[in-house]
Point group: C2
């Protein structure tokens, strides 16, 4: 899809050298895009970071935008896989307080660590240039996680452990009580990406957010 058709034969096999180059380039591009932004990153930067020539980059990807698209697809795939697993364990627990506290911690750990926050910065910052990228990511990543949370909360509601009238709204309340303040601040504060103290505070906030949710939605 993202590469020239000629690099793949009719049976779908790709030259292993291209496969290897693609992986190197995508990893390098993700690293550099997330750090310096889309316009702040030149294709030369990516090629140098990947240890390939610029010409190789253009052999594997049509242009800079398609490379961005490939990075986004990869991130969305990861997020979708994650959202399927999310909350699966929580739904089996009988102690709703324990389950929701664990769910809040899990949410904080997954959203506030790794590349999620840098990717959000990138997509939000480029939303005017690539509105469809930002919108698609939102629908296929955070919105899916929200749906998974809503499903778990509906389960608790049906078992009489919580009072849930509107699972989608309740999921939003749960998620934003748990990680809303931490996430919002993280978007503006680059240093927090690697700061251990920030991570600790985020987990504590998640726990206290879950506690507030439990008070608001107690059966």
């Amino acid at each position: 899809m993202n590469s020239a058709p000629s690099t793949t034969d009719r049976a779908g096999y790709e030259d292993p050298r291209i496969t290897r180059s693609r992986a190197l380039i995508m990893e390098a591009a993700a690293r550099v895009f997330l750090q310096r932004g889309y316009p702040g990153t030149s294709v030369d930067d990516i090629a140098a970071e990947a240890g390939v020539s610029k010409r190789t980059v253009y052999n594997v990807f049509d242009d800079k935008e398609q490379l961005f698209r490939a990075i986004l697809d990869q991130a969305i795939t990861t997020a979708e896989r994650y959202s399927l697993a999310f909350g699966a364990t929580a739904a089996e627990t009988v102690d709703v307080e324990v389950a929701l506290t664990a769910l809040a911690r899990e949410l904080a750990a997954s959203v506030l660590s790794g590349r999620v926050v840098p990717l959000r910065r990138l997509l939000i910052g480029e939303a005017s240039r690539f509105p469809e990228f930002a919108a698609e990511y939102y629908e296929r990543a955070p919105a899916r996680v929200m749906t998974a949370v809503a499903g778990a909360l509906r389960g608790f509601g049906e078992r009489g452990l919580l009072r849930i009238d509107d699972p989608e709204l309740a999921a939003e309340h749960f998620a934003f009580l748990a990680i809303g303040p931490s996430l919002d601040r993280a978007l503006f504060d680059l240093e927090s990406d690697t700061d251990a103290a920030t991570a600790t505070r985020a987990v504590e906030r998640a726990e206290r957010g879950a506690a507030a949710f439990l008070r608001a939605y107690a059966a």
Copy 2:
């Protein structure tokens, strides 16, 4: 500060032509930066939008970055003025449900309309290039509003109308229940900026968020 010292005499008077040019340039720069981003905007674009020559832009501002800084200062000043007034009326009310619902609506209206969301996109997107701009904005705008909300909630707590142990945490819970989901989505969805249906849904969400807060923090 931003202009050459020679344009202002010892008494602080500035050539009225410069004052007028500065206003034209800043309004144009705010419009274009917020729409197309910092690197996506050329100084020529700004000059054209302001109806002045590029040379005039460089007579008033040292460079493109200082112009960005001036826009940011203006936005921060507006936000600080707003945060001082915020919640002043709420603290006088006796009916806490009415007061908090009004506060939530007020928060939604002020954050989700106007230039706040586009400015957030700009600062978040440029956080890697201008980390101090993003951090300063956060501390002087959203963080101040949060402090104002915390003050109002503390007042309700002291009057026995709410159970508030930690006003700062409670303020975060209130704010993110009220506008967290709407704000997060707005950052990714450019069309929502001018969409009336989105605004209506945001107000409804704010009201239901305030209701959840009241359940969690009832005395």
